[in-house]
Subunit: 466 residues, 2 copies
């Protein structure tokens, strides 16, 4: 069998591989194969009926044509792309660009081709004010991204950025430089884009904000940077094919879902660490954190019963976190399942020069060899103490592999939602905080929320301060 | 009472403030005041005897003079500082620089004064190879940082960087541009620095690598960037004074320790989220993660009994994580204690222009107001569901406040170690992984480790792959 571009090894999540009851037994896996198949079939049925859109994205070739058309109509010669979006509207894009572009080196011109892409996501004025002071409106293109269209942070940034463009370039100049990416028909951003005459691209109505990295949200920035968006989709399509296997052991996303869910439920391994040994995948880990946390952290199951479930995803990076979090992973509570990601091939490498003395053992070693030895050393050290892990090996971190990784975890998340019995596609828990914030901002219709928060603050004892 | 530059509000960690038994009762706190006082006294005794050095760092004024002297002897006109160090040798520096310098904007010259500081920490060749291709040896200063002196990632980077300097500038030119920061007398890096004739600065023997942000490790880069290192120390000294109070309720570090420990032990709130509402404090949260995880995640207590304890620190940032992790915090398992950090004053701000339609409510609001409303909204939404939090308010995020924050959490960590009954100042759990990696690298003396890892791999069933 040819090696897949991305392979999953779960031997150290199993009793026989781990030589410890902290691993799962073959019988436990066997017992869940049929429920997992059912979960896969249920998901595929919803995907194939068009209810869930993310599964079909990799094979929607016309999508890329539409994105290319919008890209080609942007004013020529821009040097900067300012992406206004938060959560699922920035994390996937960041993951794609960080994995595939040379790193931005502070104070220097960009390496490689294409514009600088800035993702100020937060409503913190610090980064945004510095950005607007530094960028030139005439060299900048602004992408405004929100699935729902009502995201307050993005709306605020968008209004400020529009004024910034208009002051420099007039209304027409500003209009030509803004692209809105949002629901095809509904929402505030769609209305505004229509009213203002901005170019738009759709996030299909059946694709949630967390699952939209392989729509225009991730693909337009990739295209603008000269990355191979088609290869991203092809890699995702190949992975989607693997993720259609109804026997879990043939389906890497189903296996990740099954192993994660069983380790959580049966072993109390409720903290799911994502630890790539590659700086280029730090933002992938951050993207995974959102996907896993927001999809699986739910108060009620699909029958409406209170369950308050959800593993806690934890980002890490090797080898760096061997000097930060690994001490806790090795010796702390046995409540973690670590997923390591290794790269079989590094495009760049450096060799330690020949030297004598205490560091002589490093003579001739390459940094990639060192990183690989550290990954295996940490994996085996955990295993030697009966602490479970999964390992993904990526043959080469190119556009195809990035598409594959994104799809793999989208599918794993969706399957996990079935196993947990919850709705992985909503986020009702963030509504109350939003309402309270609207109340404090004096938004019409939220007066009661404003009063609620002020009453709570008044009622609170003041003595707990230091 | 004048407001402190940094204040702790723990009313929402208490039963009476939270209106929920998930909060702690006054009686529970009362019952632990004497043990907490004992912990503070024990720590102060070890600090005052010179056994633990970090407590005295803020008042060691001669330290800064020595650092300034080394800084002044560096070749003039460098534009880049390459910091080779990992874990405690980079996280604190990153936190300081991110909080106090303008952000680096991709593809642009630095804003503000001073050199670019690059912290490639990892042994991943990706960043390091790009850095060495981009930087000019004649414009670069290299800081090599390792408390123990034997850190393999740093040693490898250092040997590569030394060769890079020597090829361009010769042995003397290279020598003049390297500063080693390490133990004053022992370790490989100290030996090498002596042999090579590098300038050196000490990490005092009684200061651990995680606790060294307020030594030359953090202060030399700060000075090289023109930051007010003296103010950092003054802010830390003021905080150190507050952290000497033996009554816990007067001592913010002791209260953080007591509340965190009791929430973990008595309520199962074992995941400790650090969530600043400020992009500038993202790296502070990463620094906290190392400090909390590596100090408190321990297999044995001080009597040698197996305890496998340690809360799991989790980094977040507001408002961004309202679109990523907050869904889980709001609806998932009740196993988290969130620490919010708010800034009372933002140096930069932007105002949303007047507009009509769906976003009219944002007209005239500033991004800082929006961020503050979101912080309060999220805090109160958690509280309304009986989910506990602490809040730190920083009046102004200047050098003094950064020194204060660093010291506050160093002290809180040390006090927590006493309450957990473990040694907060070692990291024995990372040794096995290191040995196994050395074995794979063929280091003399580690042949058995190499054989151990290969035997484990051979013995493993090969069928768990997908």
């Amino acid at each position: 069998m040819a090696t897949h571009p991305i392979t999953l090894d779960y031997s150290l999540a199993m009793q026989s591989g781990l030589s410890s009851p902290a691993g799962l037994s073959d019988a436990e896996i066997e017992a869940q194969l049929e429920p997992t198949s059912a979960a896969v079939r249920a998901l595929l049925a919803r995907a194939d009926s068009g209810e869930l859109g993310f599964f079909a994205l990799p094979t929607q070739r016309d999508m890329l044509t539409e994105i290319q058309a919008v890209a080609s109509r942007l004013p020529a010669g821009f040097t900067d792309v300012l992406v206004l979006g938060i959560g699922g509207s920035s994390l996937g894009t960041r993951a794609v660009l960080e994995a595939l572009r040379p790193p931005a080196i502070a104070g220097r011109a960009l390496l490689g081709q294409g514009p600088a892409v800035h993702l100020p996501d937060n409503s913190d004025p610090w980064i945004f004010a510095h950005l607007l002071k530094t960028l030139e409106p005439s060299n900048t293109v602004v992408l405004v991204i929100s699935k729902s269209g009502g995201t307050v942070e993005t709306a605020a940034q968008m209004l400020i950025a529009q004024e910034w463009l208009q002051k420099a370039l007039g209304k027409d100049g500003a209009r030509a430089r803004i692209v809105a990416i949002t629901d095809p028909t509904s929402g505030t951003l769609r209305e505004l884009a229509t009213a203002e005459g901005w170019a738009t691209l759709p996030i299909p109505s059946n694709v949630g904000g967390r699952f939209c990295a392989l729509t225009a949200v991730g693909l337009l920035p990739a295209l603008l940077c000269g990355l191979d968006a088609q290869a991203m989709l092809s890699g995702a399509a190949a992975m989607a094919e693997r993720c259609r296997a109804t026997r879990a052991t043939d389906n890497p996303a189903a296996m990740i879902a099954l192993l994660s869910w069983l380790h959580d439920r049966e072993r109390g391994h409720s903290i799911h660490v994502m630890m790539p040994y590659a700086d280029r995948l730090k933002s992938f880990a951050a993207w995974y954190v959102q996907l896993w946390a927001e999809s699986l952290g739910k108060r009620v199951d699909r029958a409406g019963h209170t369950v308050e479930c959800g593993p806690t995803p934890l980002p890490a990076v090797g080898a760096t976190d061997q000097h930060a979090q690994v001490q806790l992973f090795m010796e702390g509570p046995r409540n973690k399942l670590v997923t390591f990601i290794g790269l079989a091939h590094h495009e760049l490498d450096l060799t330690v020069p020949k030297n004598e003395g205490a560091n002589a053992y490093l003579s001739g070693a390459s940094l990639a060899q060192l990183l690989e030895a550290e990954r295996l050393g940490t994996t085996e050290a955990l295993a030697a103490d009966g602490r479970p892990s999964l390992t993904l090996v990526v043959q080469k971190l190119d556009a195809s592999a990035v598409g594959g990784l994104l799809f793999l975890y989208e599918a794993a998340t969706a399957f996990s939602g079935e196993l947990y019995g919850i709705n992985a596609f909503d986020q009702p828990g963030v509504e109350l905080g939003k309402k309270l914030a609207f109340g404090l901002l004096g938004r019409a219709g939220y007066e009661a929320s404003g009063e609620q928060i002020r009453a709570a603050q008044r009622a609170r004892p003041g003595r707990y301060r230091s």
